[in-house]
């Protein structure tokens, strides 16, 4: 059925060329001259603050110095040995609040070294030219089950392989990669980078990936526990939080994460339905990604509404600005009170908010409303009940997420966990990679002790 050209919600708003331009590489890579000039700006700090700020502890001055001397393989290895997803992190890390915020150049001249793009400069050639920098360790005969094929699971598997163990990744989705593949704005990771990175990681050997299987539906934790020498849980967050208002299950009220996933997998991005007027509720990276991407698909008005101030948003100041210069309006200090429905969604009524004495958000009573043809929920995710049930009742939780110690060990013997599903995680790819790495190192120690103890 041909679409009504005047419908408020419709697809193919822009030409294929416009969409291609809108979804091209957000930060094009540095050329050699740019990289050399930028690398020269690094002061090679002692006990470098950027390294301390990196969740995976990459020796940043070390890899930059190797760029400076044209030792690109050495530079890439310095990055990837701490963070096997250094390529993806170079694209998606909020460097402006991590390494680049810590750069001493901020104090000197208010302009940090562009660490993110330098990291990309060093790591891109490794994938482009399929240069194997890591070898699988001598086979220990041990095999670890990994539940979830996202950054935490893949990082854990790769480190286990380096340490000589085998791993089987049980992955819910049709493809591995987790949010690298199904989340994240498309212009941040162009040219199928997520899958190419996964292929690079798997090429070390000793890692089997079983796609389309999920905890609670196809297997239980008890079964894995019995069959494998250890288990690493990294299944992310399966459920989207509710807005907490009545009748929110209305046509036109969508989960941002689902739309983003569909957009990432779409062969023709123009086919996705886009509304004239879009309201996004939330303040994290998902809110920014859905807002900017729908704007770039041709939405006329996109508004983000967040219940606190700009400084409280999960999205960095840089990301907020990026949304704003992309034409997205951001409203702070307002929470949804009522969906305005006319058969389908027609708008949202918001109540202005303020902080009360104990730092909690409360309504001021003052209201306003925004028209909307689509409303996106981007207010965070929780552990899926199904996965939790299959994990068994013995797993200690903290604020609804899996509790772990500093080695990412759970309350169940032989079970480790990492990534978005654990308590204390900041939902960054880089932190998930670190979880996987730390868990793998601890699992390795545990398995070796076990063997030594007979």
């Amino acid at each position: 059925m041909p679409e009504d050209k005047n419908a408020a919600v419709r697809s193919q708003r822009l030409s294929a060329e416009e969409i291609a331009a809108n979804f091209s590489d957000m930060h094009p890579p540095l050329g050699r001259s740019e990289a050399l000039i930028e690398s020269d700006r690094c002061y090679f700090c002692f006990d470098a603050p950027c390294t301390t700020a990196c969740p995976t502890g990459i020796d940043i001055p070390g890899f930059i110095q190797k760029i400076r001397s044209d030792n690109i393989n050495g530079s890439a290895k310095t990055i990837l040995r701490e963070n096997i997803m250094g390529g993806m992190c170079a694209r998606v890390c909020p460097t402006e609040v991590l390494c680049e915020l810590a750069c001493v150049r901020n104090t000197h001249e208010d302009k940090p070294v562009n660490i993110g793009l330098l990291q990309r400069y060093a790591t891109d050639p490794i994938l482009d030219n399929d240069i194997e920098l890591f070898e699988r360790g001598e086979d220990t005969g041990k095999c670890v089950a990994i539940v979830g094929g996202g950054p935490a699971g893949l990082s854990c598997a790769h480190r286990l392989a380096m340490l000589g163990h085998s791993a089987v990744i049980f992955n819910r989705d049709p493809k591995p990669g987790g949010l690298n593949e199904y989340g994240i704005a498309a212009y941040k990771t162009v040219n199928n980078f997520a899958q190419r990175e996964v292929e690079y990681i798997l090429s070390i050997g000793g890692i089997e990936v079983r796609n389309g299987v999920s905890l609670g539906e196809d297997f239980t934790l008890a079964e894995l526990h019995k069959e494998f020498d250890a288990v690493f849980l990294s299944f992310g967050l399966g459920s989207v939080n509710d807005l907490g208002i009545t009748d929110e299950h209305v046509d036109g009220v969508l989960n941002a994460v689902d739309y983003i996933a569909e957009l990432r997998q779409a062969k023709d991005r123009g086919e996705l339905p886009v509304a004239d007027r879009i309201v996004v509720i939330g303040g994290g990276m998902t809110a920014i990604d859905i807002a900017v991407q729908t704007k770039r698909l041709g939405a006329e008005h996109v508004d983000i509404v967040y219940r606190r101030g700009p400084e409280h948003m999960g999205a960095s100041a840089y990301e907020q600005q990026f949304a704003q210069i992309s034409g997205v309006r951001i409203h702070h200090w307002a929470k949804p009170r009522k969906l305005l429905v006319d058969n389908q969604i027609a708008g949202v009524e918001f109540e202005k908010t303020k902080l009360d004495g104990d730092g909690k958000v409360s309504g001021t009573g003052k209201a306003f409303s925004l028209d909307a043809d689509i409303v996106f929920k981007a207010i965070g995710q929780t552990l899926s009940d199904k996965a939790l049930a299959a994990a068994g009742g013995d797993l200690d939780l903290k604020q609804g997420k899996i509790a772990t110690d500093e080695n990412r060990k759970t309350s169940l013997p032989g079970v480790w966990a990492g990534g978005d599903c654990i308590y204390g995680h900041d939902d960054l790819t880089v932190s998930a990679v670190q979880d996987g790495k730390i868990a793998a190192i601890d699992i390795d120690q545990h398995l070796r002790e076990e063997r030594n103890n007979g």
Partner: protein, 433 residues
């Protein structure tokens, strides 16, 4: 406004900046452009005997780059002029006619035979040029033929050739010295003894730039093989300054007028040479890297500097720093300095700490009460200036003299008495005072 006009060996020029004898001064076309841009003088690229020499038809230059590809050092294997002598003589004559207020000196390199000099010197002088500069410095190519640095490395040859030139010349003769010697004083004295009116230095330093990492041959090459060249540019300035200062401060050579050469890129470099005893300066590499327009900053910067110092002419600057140059044995060993880090300027890169910790005296903290903080530990600081040298922030680390009380490092009281090595108790050869 300070007066930049300059007189060297009686040769007048509107400013003390001459282009050195080199590729930029090989042709009337270039020299014209230079004079239009405002250069005070030029030393014509070295003339030789006919038939002219032949240059390689491939790379003559190579550079030492910073990462931003700023040229910090420069290497060349170009020989003297490869144009027929008469072409050069005609152009020199014309240029001098067109630019009477500029200094025009002609560099020459001739075989070590009396009669050769007797033949060529009058021909060259006839152009109306202001002076000769004898090229006893080029370290590549011509030196294999017994000229250039091959002469400059043997004081007796310098004196002999200078005498031959002086015998036929009525205009001043400058001898250009090579730095490829262990001691610059004998060559300078030999030039003076041969009758030279002044010396110019330095010529280029023997050099190979690097290796080609693909072919593992030296870089650059001519058909797969290369030859050492002459090194110049900013990187050689400290070598040149030392040699200029040696001639200036040595009693036997102090009276020899000096034209300073070696890596002058901006006006501050010129101040270095002038203050250490050069009466004027010559520039080549900076012009070859940036073009003749750099003369604007050279003259303007020097003029502003002289104004700021309350000096009305260049002459007042010449030699100002010479008395401060001495032998190590005369340095006051009772003098104590300590580094001080300005915490307001510190950006906390920690470079001062790590270099002191790894390579010097463990005299800079990295943390204080668990906080990242870099402070000098006076008890360990020997005042070596390493931290101040590596600090990326200008004026963040400065050296301060300790004038009284106890030196925290030695526990000894600061003495106001001057004590140098010649009379130090640890010196077994000390002179009893």
């Amino acid at each position: 406004m300070a007066d930049l006009s300059s007189e060297f060996l009686g040769i007048k020029s509107p400013n003390p900046f001459w282009l050195a004898s080199a590729p930029p001064t090989d042709k009337a076309y270039n020299v014209n452009r230079a004079f239009e841009a405002g250069w005070g003088g030029a030393v014509w690229k070295t003339l030789g005997e006919d038939p002219p020499i032949v240059n390689v038809n491939g790379p003559r230059y190579s550079a030492l780059h910073s990462n931003e590809r700023r040229v910090v050092g420069f290497n060349n294997i170009e020989l003297i002029t490869d144009r027929p002598l008469q072409v050069n003589l005609d152009e020199i004559r014309q240029i001098k006619k067109d630019w009477p207020d500029r200094a025009l000196v002609v560099s020459v390199m001739l075989h070590m035979e009396d009669k050769v000099w007797a033949k060529y010197v009058p021909m060259i002088e006839d152009t109306g040029a202001d002076a000769f500069e004898l090229n006893f410095g080029c370290p590549h190519g011509m030196s294999e033929r017994g000229m250039g640095a091959a002469v400059g490395q043997v004081p007796e040859y310098i004196q002999m050739a200078t005498e031959w030139c002086k015998k036929c010349a009525s205009i001043p003769v400058i001898v250009k010295l090579t730095p490829n010697v262990t001691n610059i004083l004998p060559p300078a004295a030999a030039a003076r003894d041969g009758g030279a009116d002044g010396v110019s230095l330095i010529n280029t330093v023997n050099s190979i730039m690097r290796v080609n990492y693909d072919t593992l041959t030296m870089y650059p090459t001519t058909d797969g093989r290369g030859s050492h060249g002459g090194y110049c540019g900013e990187a050689v300035k400290p070598i040149a300054l030392h040699m200029v200062a040696e001639i200036s401060r040595n009693r036997d050579t102090a009276d020899i007028p000096i034209s300073g050469i070696g890596g002058i890129t901006d006006w501050r470099d010129a101040v270095d040479f002038l203050a250490l005893g050069a009466s004027n300066v010559q520039v080549c590499t900076a012009a070859m890297v940036y073009g003749f327009k750099i003369i604007d900053d050279l003259t303007d910067g020097l003029s502003n500097f002289l104004d700021a110092k309350g000096m009305s002419s260049v002459d007042q600057l010449v030699g100002k720093a010479v008395p401060s140059v001495t032998d190590w044995q005369h340095l006051n060993l009772n003098y104590v300095e300590k580094a001080v880090i300005d915490q307001d300027l510190c950006i906390k890169c920690g470079r001062c700490h790590i270099v002191c910790e790894d390579t010097s005296h463990q005299a800079i903290t990295s943390t204080i009460n668990g906080e990242r903080k870099f402070e000098v530990i006076d008890e360990e600081c020997v005042g070596c200036n390493l931290c101040a040298s590596v600090c990326p922030v200008d004026s963040c680390i400065t050296m301060h003299q300790v004038t009284d009380g106890i030196d925290a490092r030695t526990g000894q009281p600061i003495s106001r008495e001057v004590l140098d090595w010649t009379s130090h108790p640890n010196n077994p050869m000390r002179k009893e005072s």
